[in-house]
Every structure is written in structure tokens, then in C-alpha cells.
């Protein structure tokens, strides 16, 4: 029977069907559910781990693939930047067991710091990449990717985008599963990268590109259909929109669906271009297919107009939509498409994401803000829920660059502004991911910064994954918790305090003390993410005591609080976690337990 599967679930179940033995990754939207689904469906024959970062994940998986196991590594697009060091060398070394890198791109971006295109990373590293348009296709591609990887002895990249990862489709999954017993690690000079070997392998990789380009012309993931003098080429979700638009407009055009953007299926592309006068290319992010078609047209001396990003027909930035694709295709086909009449809508308040009600980060930020009031201070931030601390009214994130950068960027600012106090905010999972080298750098180079670890005992932003500080693994084991305070002390941080951020008095005085320390000091704010605790009874406002000053809302911006018509504050009981931060701010003692409820 068909099941409703999310793209990421389909990828996971496809990998299990293909006989994957080792799965590693680091959480990152929109890729996270792939590894989680493997773990959920693990019969015990698959080793699954959340690695501390993507580089580590790639290297663990490489070792398993050297030993003949089918392996999968999962991450979001920016994770591949972290893993790019092993990736580039691994492309030279190659693998024995099939190895698939699932790297999810995020056009928009919806939850990312860049709109980078992993298809270019595939070109850069000379690795084959498959680009699904639907969850069904992702399910088929992941299985084909393992076989392909073993055939060519190279890792293969599967690059779904958010709209494929987080879309669900009805998919038939049977219980058939390929069996691949790892042959084990065999000692061989091929596993040791040396300049001489790199040179030889470089020749071989380039030879493979040509062969793969030919093989891919026969691949079922690349298709030419239809006829006429106009052609539409595309990939990913843009291709899905194009199919819908072509059908809705009743167009008769020649189409080229590209499922393997690299190596580019050149021969098939030639048959597509044959007889065409004009081509429209529809692909999100970089013009990968467009450039490949331009190159072929140039080489063959074809007189074809190729439209896409380079001539300004379609945008580079942002995600595509049905409407955007419909407009582009209508104009390309010379149709005047009537605009859909839009209903008149009153002006609506924006609703950006915010820190949850009861989130301990709000209390941590607030304590630092209070302690540094009137002093010159810069607050560097990092990647996680707590990036939302930049919003009003907290305004506590002055920089955010990439995973782990809070600690190192703070040091650079301190070097230029010695009189400014520098606070680096970093979450527990991010600290383990890439925060530690920055701390060592600050200690070694004697830089005065305060490291603030926001320890909520989970990887919250991506949906609560365990990490080395939680003592739980994806194999269901209990492991030794890695103690952040002990780790900081062991690398030479002399002043380390562990503090409950909801104890504002202690927190504020600790922050003041930390800011006076010579060298690196560290505060670990410890309080669990609200998703990890049972929701307590909500707090209430005593409307007799509330003087409608609005201070509580203005200071902390808790989403559970709202103003009533008379200017007094109310608390929504279904979302309040009774953290009490508002109560500590109220000058009139109007906020308390449920007995206070008006």
C-alpha cells in the first residue's frame, strides 16, 4: 500500500532498501529528517550517528566506505562547506563501498545563511550529482546513487532542495532490501593520498567525467520529450512547476528534464537542441544547466537563443514558484497570460519567528543585557534558535556568520576595539560542532572575551537532536556526557561559571564579574529547552495589581504575553511555560501563579 512519505523519509527508506550500513550526519534544515528516519527504521543492522560536525561525519563515512560498506552522509548545503576538506580529497581517493552524500539545498533561503548551489560543489569536486524534482524521484535516485557510486568508485551527491525534502507524496515502499556485506578494510597504498597519487587520480577522474557524461545520456533521470522549435529545460522543483504550467497553458514544446546536472548528459542535450530556435532554462540558484547548454551550443556553433538567468529572464536569487515559472514560460511562448485577480487585503502585521515563550535563551540574553547596560559591549552570535535573540526588544545579536564564528569573530573585534567588552553567544551543539577551536585560539592568543554557552541540553533549532553533551546516541545508547565546563577548564579557561539563567540576580552579577576577567572567561547558562520539559501550569496576571505600564512586554517580548484593550497585560495559558522572567521584571508584583488569574 502507498504511504504518505516526506521527501527526506523517502530518501532514508530508499537508502535502507539499497542496503546502507553506516549513516552519519549533522542536523541542518532541510536535511535533518533523513538521518532521523533511518534511525527510526533501523533493525539494528545499520550504524547511525549524529556526528559532531559534517567534516567528522564525512570522514567516519569515508572510513566505512573504504571498508566496503554502503554509507550515507547527510547535511544541509552549508554543512558541505565544513566537510569540503575531506570531500575534495575523497574525490581523488575514491571509495569501495557505495557512498552517497545527501546535501540539501535551501533556495529562498528559508532557514539558511546562504543560497549556495551544491551542483556547483559537485562540478568543483568532480563528483556526480543527482537532482530530484519530487519525493518519488528522490526515492528512486538514492537507490540508483549507491549503485552508481560503486560502479565508478566515487562518492555520489544527491541534492534535494527544501520543496522536495519537506514535501510529502504517496509512495509505495516494499520490504525488498539489497544485501551488501562489507568486505572489510584491505591495506593498500590507494588509501594514502600523496602528490604522486593525486596526479594519477586526477587524470583518472577527468577520464571518468567524460564516460559519465555519456552514461548519463542514457539515464532514466534525464529525458527529452515533445517537439517543436521552442524548448524548455529544467531541473529540481522548477521542473515540476514547469510541467504543471505547460499542462495548464496547453503548450506544445520540446522539453529536457535534467536529473544529473553533473556530469552533464551532453549527447542527450545535443538531441534536445537539435532543431530548436529558442530555449528557456528553468532551474533554481546557479545557472548550471544554462551554462552547460550554452557551452554545447557554442561548441557546435548552433544558432539558438538560450534564455535563463544570464540574460535576465529568470532570477538568480530566491526560490521559484508556479507563478514565476508561469510568467517566464508565457513570455517565452509569446502568450499574454491574464493575471489572477487578487482580493483586496488589509495591511497585516508581519509575523517573524521568535524565541518560544519560556525559552531559557531569553533569560540569558536579558541577564547579559542588564549587566552591560551603559557599558560599551558587542554581542557576537552564532547559528541556532538563539540567533532569534537579534529581534526587538532583546537586540542581543550583533553578528552572525557561520557555525562557531561567534567565538572567533569576537576576538577579531576585540583586537580592533580593546575598550569594548566582547560576549560570544554559542549554543551547546554549535559549541561542540566548531566552537572549541575558537576558544583554544582565544586562550592561546590571550584575548579578553567572555564565552557564553547557551546550554539547553539539545540541538533545538533543527528539532531536538542529541549531541555529545546530552549523553544519548542515535543507536539508543547512553554515553558519557561531555562536560562543557570541564572541557573549557582543560583548555585553559580559568574563570568558568555554570548558572541557571532564570536566577536573574546571580546571572547578572556573574556576567559583570566575567566581563572584568583578564583573558577568556566563560559562563554556561544551563536550562533545558521547553520542548524537553513537561509544561507546567501557566502564570497569570493579577489585573488589580497590573498598572498597564507594559514594561514586561517591552523588555522581553514574550510571545505568550499580550495587551488587552485597557492596556493591561494578559498571558495565553496554552503557551506559557511559567519561566517567571516576566514576574522578575514586573515592578508591581502583578504576575504569578494561576491563583493570580483575574
Amino acid at each position: 500500500m502507498k504511504r504518505l512519505l516526506m521527501g527526506n523519509e523517502a530518501i532514508a527508506l530508499g537508502a535502507i532498501k539499497a542496503g546502507v550500513r553506516v549513516v552519519c550526519g549533522y542536523p541542518g534544515t532541510p536535511s535533518t529528517e533523513v538521518l532521523e528516519t533511518v534511525a527510526k527504521n533501523n533493525d539494528g543492522s545499520i550504524y547511525v550517528e549524529w556526528s559532531v560536525n559534517e567534516k567528522t561525519a564525512m570522514e567516519v563515512a569515508a572510513g566505512s566506505a573504504y571498508s566496503g560498506a554502503r554509507t550515507m552522509v547527510t547535511m544541509k548545503q552549508v554543512g558541505l562547506n565544513v566537510a569540503s576538506d575531506p570531500l575534495m580529497s575523497l574525490a581523488y581517493i575514491g571509495v569501495k563501498g557505495g557512498m552517497v552524500l545527501v546535501v540539501a539545498d535551501d533556495p529562498g533561503p528559508l532557514s539558511s545563511q546562504t543560497e549556495q548551489d551544491t551542483r556547483h560543489f559537485a562540478k568543483f569536486s568532480n563528483l556526480p550529482v543527482l537532482d530530484p524534482s519530487t519525493p518519488e524521484e528522490a526515492f528512486a535516485m538514492i537507490q540508483a546513487a549507491f549503485a552508481l557510486s560503486e560502479k565508478v568508485g566515487l562518492p555520489v551527491i544527491l541534492r534535494p532542495t527544501t520543496r522536495v525534502c519537506h514535501a510529502c507524496a504517496s509512495i509505495d515502499v516494499d520490504d525488498n532490501r539489497e544485501e551488501h556485506i562489507p568486505s572489510g578494510f584491505e591495506k593498500d597504498s590507494r588509501w594514502v593520498i600523496f602528490p604522486q597519487l593525486s596526479y594519477k587520480r586526477h587524470i583518472e577522474i577527468e577520464r571518468l567525467q567524460t564516460i559519465l557524461a555519456q552514461t548519463f545520456s542514457e539515464s532514466p533521470f534525464n529525458r527529452v520529450s515533445g517537439k517543436g522549435s521552442l524548448g524548455i529545460a529544467g531541473s529540481g522543483i522548477a521542473w515540476a512547476y514547469a510541467q504543471d504550467v505547460i499542462r495548464d497553458l496547453g503548450l506544445s514544446v520540446k522539453t529536457f528534464k535534467v536529473g544529473t546536472p553533473h556530469p552533464f548528459p551532453e549527447k542527450l542535450a545535443e538531441s534536445f537542441l537539435d532543431g530548436l530556435e529558442a530555449v528557456l532554462v528553468l532551474e533554481e540558484l546557479d545557472p548550471v544547466i544554462e551554462e552547460a547548454l550554452l557551452e554545447i551550443a557554442g561548441k557546435k556553433g548552433l544558432k539558438i537563443t538560450i534564455s535563463g538567468k544570464k540574460d535576465g529572464t529568470t532570477p538568480y536569487a530566491g526560490e521559484y514558484s508556479y507563478e514565476l515559472v508561469r510568467k517566464a514560460i508565457s513570455e517565452f511562448a509569446g502568450l499574454s497570460d491574464a493575471e489572477v485577480p487578487q482580493p483586496a487585503i488589509p495591511s497585516l502585521p508581519a509575523r517573524p519567528p521568535v524565541l518560544c515563550a519560556g525559552c531559557p535563551h531569553r533569560a540569558s540574553f536579558y541577564a547579559v543585557k542588564k549587566a552591560m547596560k551603559g557599558r560599551k559591549a558587542v554581542f557576537t552570535g552564532d547559528i541556532g534558535c538563539y540567533t532569534l535573540g537579534n529581534a526587538k526588544p532583546l537586540n542581543m545579536v550583533d553578528t552572525c556568520l557561520c557555525m562557531g564564528a561567534s567565538i572567533s569573530v569576537a576576538q577579531g573585534i576585540k583586537r580592533v576595539e580593546p575598550d569594548t567588552r566582547l560576549f560570544a553567544f554559542i549554543g551547546d551543539s554549535t559549541f561542540f560542532h566548531t566552537g572549541i577551536p575558537g576558544v583554544i585560539n582565544a586562550v592561546y592568543n590571550q584575548t579578553d572575551i567572555v564565552v557564553v554557552v547557551l546550554d539547553n541540553s539539545t540541538t533545538a533549532m533543527t528539532g531536538h537532536q542529541p549531541h555529545p553533551g546530552t549523553g544519548r546516541t542515535m543507536m539508543g545508547n547512553v554515553s558519557e556526557k561531555i562536560d562543557i565546563a570541564g572541557l573549557l577548564k582543560s583548555v585553559g579557561v580559568k574563570w568558568v561559571r555554570r548558572i541557571n539563567p532564570f536566577d536573574q540576580k546571580t546571572a547578572i552579577s556573574a556576567v559583570k564579574e566575567a566581563s572584568e576577567v583578564k583573558g577568556v572567561s566563560a559562563i554556561i547558562f544551563e536550562a533545558p529547552c521547553i520542548a524537553l520539559i513537561k509544561k507546567p501550569e501557566a502564570l497569570g496576571v493579577d489585573s488589580g495589581k497590573c498598572r498597564a505600564c507594559g514594561l514586561c512586554i517591552r523588555e522581553i517580548g514574550c510571545p505568550s504575553m499580550y495587551l488587552t484593550e485597557n492596556g493591561k497585560v494578559q498571558i495565553e495559558p496554552s503557551t506559557c511555560y511559567a519561566c517567571g522572567l516576566c514576574g522578575s521584571i514586573c515592578p508591581f508584583g502583578a504576575i504569578g501563579g494561576m491563583n493570580h488569574e483575574n
Partner: protein, 205 residues
């Protein structure tokens, strides 16, 4: 059957579960389904939309502007925000619950509920406006507002899938301890949806 549905609300209101329940119920009745979700940053109290497409040949999950057959607004402002995707002949169910964005609480923006309700009433024929929050509380938990609204859609005949399929979907997807609560929530909405349509019919006579 081909029907495109939108669920619009505020992150945390259970849109993903609602779209999964519709999908599961549709599959039980032999239809193909596509859904698309907002997951990630926008879940933290931001605007969230789920797209559910039952039947049809479309490869993309996102419902284009003006093409949704049914819009279920879990929150007033979010319902209005997504009206542009609703077909002029579409059906509309709106939970009149107001959730203030922090920008409004801070006085940076205005939440004009009256104008929004007026817009909703004008948008299509016979929209159903209801206090889903109170119905969910009566059923046992305000968290079940999502299932109340699904019940309303089915009870009103706006979502042509059977009550039995939804109850089965609840059994299949949710842990047992939540079954009774969600059955009750579904039926609260189901009855209201049925009544709303009957009342309308009576008015027309």
C-alpha cells in the same frame, strides 16, 4: 476527485499534523496525495502554511495563487494573509482566534481584527467563522484546535473525505492516549460544520 487545500496558521498550532491527517485519510480512500510544509525557522511562532493536494497530476506540492479549493485558517490574520491562494469559488473556514505577533504587542504594528473579519466574510460565498479555541478546550485541550477545524471542514462537506477515514487516520498516526481527545475534538468541529451548512441552507430558503 481533485482538491487543493491550504492550512494557514502560526507555528506551533499543529498544521503539520493536520496535513498528515488529511493525507492519511485521503490515502485510505485510495487517492494520491502531495503535501508541502513549512519546517524550520518559521516554526518558532512565525507564519506557517501547509499545502495539501489530493488527486490531480501536479508534481509540485505548492498550491498556486487563486487555485485552492479550501483554505483552513487556524488563526485570523494568517487566514487573511493566504486568501490570495484561494479560488473565488473556494471554501473558507476560519478560526477567529487572534494570536498577536510580538511586533503587535510591542506597538510596532497594528492587528486590525475587524477589518480582517470583514475581508474574510467578503472573500468567498458562505465562509465558516468559528471559535475553534473554545471548542478545542471543551473537547479537552486547546492543543486540539487543529483537529476541531478538520472536523468542521468534513462536517460542512468542504473536504469530501469521510469522518470514518479521519478517525482511522487519528488512530494510525497518533499515540493511543491522544485518541479520545482527538475523536472528541473532531466531532465538535464536525457537528459545527454540519450545522453551519444547514443554517445556511435554511437562510437561503
Amino acid at each position: 476527485m481533485k482538491i487543493d487545500i491550504l492550512i494557514a496558521g502560526v507555528g506551533g498550532q499543529g498544521q503539520v499534523l493536520a496535513s498528515r491527517l488529511i493525507g492519511a485519510a485521503a490515502i485510505l480512500e485510495g487517492y494520491t496525495v502531495r503535501t508541502g510544509e513549512t519546517i524550520g525557522m518559521s516554526q518558532r511562532g512565525g507564519s506557517v502554511v501547509s499545502h495539501v493536494r489530493i488527486g490531480g497530476e501536479s508534481l509540485a506540492a505548492t498550491v498556486p495563487f487563486g487555485q485552492a479549493d479550501l483554505l483552513i485558517g487556524f488563526e485570523l490574520c494568517e487566514a487573511v494573509r493566504n486568501l490570495r491562494r484561494l479560488s473565488r469559488n473556494g471554501r473558507l473556514i476560519v478560526n477567529t482566534q487572534r494570536i498577536n505577533p510580538v511586533t503587535v504587542s510591542l506597538g510596532m504594528e497594528r492587528y486590525d481584527a475587524e477589518a480582517m473579519i470583514e475581508t474574510v466574510k467578503q472573500a468567498v460565498q458562505s465562509p465558516i467563522l468559528l471559535d475553534g479555541y473554545s471548542l478545542a478546550r471543551e473537547a479537552g485541550s486547546v492543543k486540539a484546535v487543529n483537529v476541531v477545524l478538520l472536523g468542521t471542514a468534513v462536517g460542512a462537506g468542504f473536504l469530501p473525505l469521510s469522518r470514518e477515514s479521519f478517525l482511522q487516520a487519528i488512530r494510525d498516526i497518533l499515540p493511543q492516549k491522544l485518541h479520545d481527545l482527538n475523536f472528541a475534538a473532531f466531532d465538535k468541529g464536525y457537528e459545527l460544520g454540519g450545522r453551519a451548512v444547514e443554517d445556511k441552507a435554511a437562510q437561503i430558503k
